[in-house]
């Protein structure tokens, strides 16, 4: 494996790992404070037990997110020193604010985890709210830095030199809002459905049903609302990409030829040699409309871009995009079904209802990771869109593949460990006597 591939694999792998923990760490505090509020209002001990077990989950996920995030803050430089040398000063703003937000989160979490019976009730609860808000803020700031890689702004560039740097303009780059909105909703969807799914399984198995139903309802409400709002944000993102990164749009849909009134492809198998997509479902003129708001708009095909500015792996971008949209739609439907089930409570007595939500548990995260594959692989060969190539940013140190193996083993083991800890957590909860 050459150094560039190894570095890309390591970056991809560590990000895929970190994103899961970071999302759970930023969204779960909201579930926790809702349960906590209900405990304060109702004094129903079930809510206290739920709050405390979610709090343990938050602590475990937060620390794993925090240490892998610390590693990432170094990895950016360790793997892509040329990138950081030039981009560091430009995108320093979101990163330094992110550092501050993360700090606030850690301080608030310290208060929250250790503040039981030591702090005034309402203040203690409020520190939990700060954990959530600070978490979302740091998520948005990091995504803004990624937005800058897709929509570089706030500098002039000529002959390899960056001048007239304006960090504020770089922070508020054209992509930051659509990306941050899409990612925040995705984090709520993924975490909401994952947590709800785990509790649904416990209800399916008839363990501590009262507690798990309360837990399910809190988690799925967040997930369902986010999933239902997500298509609106997805539409904004698509229009934005069509305008700024047309080659990424062409790759997402695997359109090789420039056409007017372009159809939307659903599914299909990409044949890169023959430059066609077989076995697909075609919706006439839909892509032109979705991307440009005009059924007859022209969508530029991959063939009309020079070879050195388009991603090599078209199939991966296309499949990832299909997975994201397909699963996102499924979760949106599931979200609507949940709200209907609030009116038709008889559904809650069916085992199949709980099995359905259990099966959905991992899908939000699969969609979220697929979305990141679309945006990152779809930006290749650039690390900074139209400014710096990924191959020019990689570290000169050979042998990165060994570092990749190390992270593979380390994070692989950690994933197993965290899963195992969660299973023990739930087992303990199911065996405990709440009243």
């Amino acid at each position: 494996m050459d150094n560039l591939d190894a570095a890309r694999l390591q970056m991809a792998f560590t990000l895929i790992f970190h994103i899961v923990f970071a999302c759970i760490g930023m969204v779960m505090p909201f579930f926790m404070v809702v349960a906590h509020k209900k405990w304060l209002n109702t004094k129903n001990p079930v809510y206290l037990t739920l709050t405390k077990s979610w709090q343990k989950g938050v602590a475990i996920f937060f620390v794993t997110g925090a240490v892998s995030g610390t590693a990432l803050s170094f990895e950016l430089g360790l793997l892509w020193p040329e990138f950081m040398k030039h981009a560091g000063p430009i995108i320093g703003m979101p990163f330094s604010l992110e550092g501050a937000a993360f700090f606030v989160e850690a301080i608030a979490l310290g208060f929250y985890l250790y503040g039981w019976k030591k702090l005034p009730e309402q203040f203690h609860w409020f520190t939990g709210v700060i954990v959530g808000i600070a978490g979302v803020a740091s998520g948005i700031l990091v995504v803004s830095a990624n937005g800058w890689m897709n929509a570089p702004s706030g500098f002039d560039y000529a002959n390899g030199v960056f001048t007239n740097i304006d960090p504020i303009k770089a922070l508020l780059n054209p992509a930051w809002f659509t990306q941050a909105l899409h990612m925040t909703l995705a984090a709520f969807t993924a975490t909401g459905f994952a947590v709800a799914g785990i509790h649904a399984f416990q209800i399916y198995k008839k363990r501590q049903v009262e507690l798990h139903k309360k837990a399910f309802k809190i988690a799925i409400t967040f997930g369902a609302v986010a999933a239902i709002l997500q298509p609106i944000s997805g539409d904004l993102s698509a229009k934005d990409i069509a305008k700024r990164q047309p080659v990424k749009l062409a790759a997402m849909e695997a359109h090789y030829h420039t056409t007017k009134g372009t159809p939307l492809y659903i599914g299909g198998i990409v044949d890169n040699d023959k430059q066609e997509v077989t076995h697909k479902i075609e919706i006439p003129k839909a892509l032109s409309f979705l991307a440009f708001g005009d059924f007859n708009a022209e969508v530029k095909g991959l063939n009309d871009f020079p070879d050195d500015v388009k991603p090599k792996n078209i199939a991966m971008v296309h499949y990832a995009f299909q997975v994201m949209v397909g699963l996102g739609t499924l979760l949106m439907v599931a979200g609507i079904l949940f709200f209907i089930s609030l009116k038709k409570r008889s559904w809650w007595t069916h085992k199949r209802y709980w099995l359905f939500f259990f099966l959905l548990a991992p899908l939000g995260f699969v969609a979220l990771e697929a979305g990141w594959i679309v945006t990152e692989v779809g930006r290749q060969p650039w690390i900074i869109h139209n400014v710096m190539k990924t191959k020019d940013a990689v570290t000169p140190m050979p042998g990165i593949v060994y570092s990749f193996y190390m992270y593979l083993v380390l994070y692989g083991t950690l994933s197993i460990a965290v899963t195992w800890l969660m299973i023990r957590q739930i087992k303990f909860l199911n065996n405990s006597n709440i009243h």
Binding site: A66, A71, L76, G92, S96, G99, I107, F428
Partner: protein, 338 residues
């Protein structure tokens, strides 16, 4: 504004050394406790650093961000040439962090605790050693900063600068400082027999730090390291070191009297003096390569970037510092108001 940024850089680094140092040290103290005392120490360590340890470790992220935003040239040398020890630090930080949380949040306390415990203790010792070693890489005079890396062998480019006796001595010295800070912190957090144990540990670690400090200076002197030669020649460094030597006796006496506030203050001052002494003779030429010195102020970011960074740090600081102070105070790491 550059000075504001430099101040925050030094301040964050100092707080990282003091707070995260005490935090690493707590694991070292637990490692060095006798078998029958470890369980008690473990409980105390959890009570003392549990609420604050995550916040303590964020200082390193602040340091990294300031470096890459404000001093990209310096940061670039760090991440290219010291890739390997930095990766080992990250490995240590990761294993230590998760072990600490797993051992307290795992609902069943069974045999796996042994694994968590050892992971926590060993990585608490190795991580600060590698932190010291990484720093030493910058000043060992063996760094070969060159445009055409292809001509240098893998060893000279990526290993030689930190893989040597001088670097190891600095690593051990830093781990010693961590253990020293932790034992002094723990004195004020325990009673009776346990308190006496930390008093004893504090004395031993104080002496150890002094000995390790001498070892670093002697090795550096014998190997004619520019860093050490500048250090012993600089009047500022000498004054600072004399000052730090002068407070050793009051410190030892205060440890003996088990006075927690006074001891903590003196220990803090001690570490600040040592760090200042080390940096003052070298600043701003913080990188000493095989053929030249490089200033941290080389390749500093443009004025606008520094201005924005400075403002961001001031705003961040005004939000974070009061919160952090209250956190430390609430959980009694700062005992001023008692």
């Amino acid at each position: 504004m550059l000075y504001v940024v430099l101040f925050f850089l030094a301040f964050s680094l100092l707080l990282y050394v003091l707070l995260a140092g005490a935090d690493f040290g707590a694991g070292i103290v637990e490692l060095l406790s006798s078998k029958q005392n470890r369980t008690v120490t473990k409980k105390t360590v959890y009570r003392v650093i549990g609420p604050v340890w995550e916040a303590n470790h964020i200082w390193i992220i602040i340091v990294v961000v300031i470096l890459w935003v404000g001093f990209p040239g310096f940061y670039n040398i760090l991440v290219v040439y010291l890739h390997i020890p930095l990766t080992l630090i990250l490995l240590g930080i990761t294993l230590r962090g998760v072990a600490f949380v797993f051992r307290h949040y795992d609902v069943y306390k069974d045999k796996t605790q042994v694994l968590y415990d050892w992971m926590f203790r060993v990585s608490s010792l190795l991580t600060p050693i590698f932190l010291g070693i990484t720093f030493s890489g910058l000043i060992s005079g063996k760094l070969r900063v060159t445009e055409n890396l292809e001509t240098a062998s893998f060893y000279t480019a990526y290993i030689g600068s930190w893989f040597n006796v001088f670097s190891l001595s600095i690593g051990l010295f830093f781990a010693g400082i961590c253990a020293f800070l932790a034992s002094i912190l723990l004195i004020g957090e325990a009673d009776k027999e346990e308190r006496k144990r930390y008093v004893k540990k504090a004395r031993i670690t104080t002496i150890t730090v002094i000995l390790l400090g001498f070892m670093v200076l002697s090795i550096g002197y014998l190997q004619e390291k520019t860093f050490v030669l500048n250090f012993v020649k600089s009047p500022y460094s000498i004054v600072l070191i004399v000052l730090s030597a002068l407070i050793i006796l009051p410190l030892l006496r205060s440890i003996k009297n088990q006075s927690s506030i006074k001891t903590r203050t003196l220990a803090g001052i001690q570490v600040v003096l040592i760090l200042l002494a080390a940096f003052v003779s070298q600043f701003p030429d913080l990188i000493i390569t095989s053929d030249k010195t490089l200033s941290i102020l080389d390749a500093v970011a443009t004025k606008e970037v520094i201005k924005v960074l400075g403002i961001a740090l001031i705003i961040g600081g005004t939000i974070i510092l009061p919160g952090l102070f209250h956190l430390l105070k609430s959980f009694k790491m700062i005992k001023i108001l008692e």
